[in-house]
Symmetry: C2
Subunit: 204 residues, 2 copies
DNA sequence: TGTACATCAGTGAACGCGCGTTCACTGATGTAC
DNA sequence: TGTACATCAGTGAACGCGCGTTCACTGATGTAC
């Protein structure tokens, strides 16, 4: 809902959306401020009413992405409760679903090359996202037999790396993408084997 | 060794090396043909004696990367023989070592956004790289108890995704990079847990 | 060994282009009376 | 409800810049005789 019936109505968000589309289509390189402005039906100069510059626009897109990401992870986690395993699995599925349906956000967040510490707001949003993943991991790791215990942060790192790797290599037209298996299947089976290795899943 | 004592001697390789440095420093976006030429001490126009254009230069850099990568993987694999496990571990370590010491190549190969099918040469080099990884995987997977068996290509995909994810998230200044663990440790422990899940490593 | 010629790697000037950014402005929207 | 004024989102022209690419050229290197 536009706050007021101004000329454009909600140009700020329209610019972000245009940027996300361009990023998803052509990669982080393919995005230009001028083109985003054109796509929003506006002069390039108009962008400067809402953003400090090009980088600022990408940052805002990434920030919204992290927020959305954290919300989705938290939502999936809650839905899987009270079973730690169900919550964990739902979170994992939500990860891939996000990467797939919000390509622009995902690329802005992880492939645009901008530092997470570029601004406090961005850093905070990224931290929220990480915490959402760690929450799901912490519950599950508590079930691991003590002698196989691994710090929750390491557990999270493993799962995140596997998820990210699957997205980058197999959910795009990347070098490895010749496998006849879907990213979803790859991630699920990979995580399954990993969890068995931790003694969480029964070894059948 | 320069083929002949020409003006520059070996400009083609000098341009590729300059490009690799620029890519490593500033990401796939930061690379410009003009700057690579300048760094090689040459006019931008000179580039066209050796490459069809900018894209061609990146492609050649990526191709050399895949070749080198495949060689290193094969070498590590051979060194670990005849133990399938030792060969596998050596291959994994070589992966991270390559990503670390040849950042420019790694980025050109996996993050530059150019399609592997851009040319037959590039596709062939990429295929060789994948085969090197799959070779190490195939030997090891043969040791898995039949009821836990997984196709070698899936096994390879899991390990590759984990390795790539670790590189992208934890070996750069990326969002997740707040873990106090080194990429090497993360990958080794992750692969260890995964292998235990397959029943290859004893569950101690 | 010396000269005449062919080759071709690299030059330097020029091009058209789209970029990000600035600036004084305009004109629609919102507000006070 | 109507008028006068303030606000400020978006305009349009302009800028300087570095880009990738082209072209006719030059001059060092290699080759034939």
């Amino acid at each position: 809902m536009p706050k007021r019936g101004y000329h454009h109505g909600n140009l700020k968000q329209a610019l972000i959306d245009a940027a996300l589309e361009l990023i998803a289509e052509r990669g982080p390189t393919g995005f230009t401020l001028s083109e985003a402005a054109k796509q929003a039906g506006v002069t390039p100069a108009a962008v400067y009413r809402h953003f400090k510059g090009r980088e600022d626009l990408i940052e805002e897109a990434a920030r919204q992405g992290f927020d959305m990401f954290a919300d989705l992870m938290n939502y999936a986690y809650d839905k899987g409760q009270p079973s730690a395993m169900a919550a964990f699995e739902a979170t994992g599925r939500a990860y891939l679903a996000f990467a797939r349906s919000h390509q622009g956000h995902y690329i802005a967040m992880f492939e645009s090359g901008l530092s997470v510490n570029r601004s406090p707001e961005l850093a905070a949003a990224a931290a929220r996202a990480r915490e959402a993943l760690e929450q799901a991991a912490a519950d599950l790791i508590a079930q691991v037999p003590p002698e196989k215990q691994v710090p929750a942060s390491v557990f999270t790192a493993h799962i995140w790396a596997l998820s990210h790797g699957v997205v980058e290599l197999y959910a795009r037209n990347a070098p490895g993408a010749t496998t006849p298996f879907s990213p979803e299947d790859l991630l699920e089976s990979g995580v399954g084997i990993y969890l068995r290795g931790l003694g969480i899943l029964s070894p059948d």
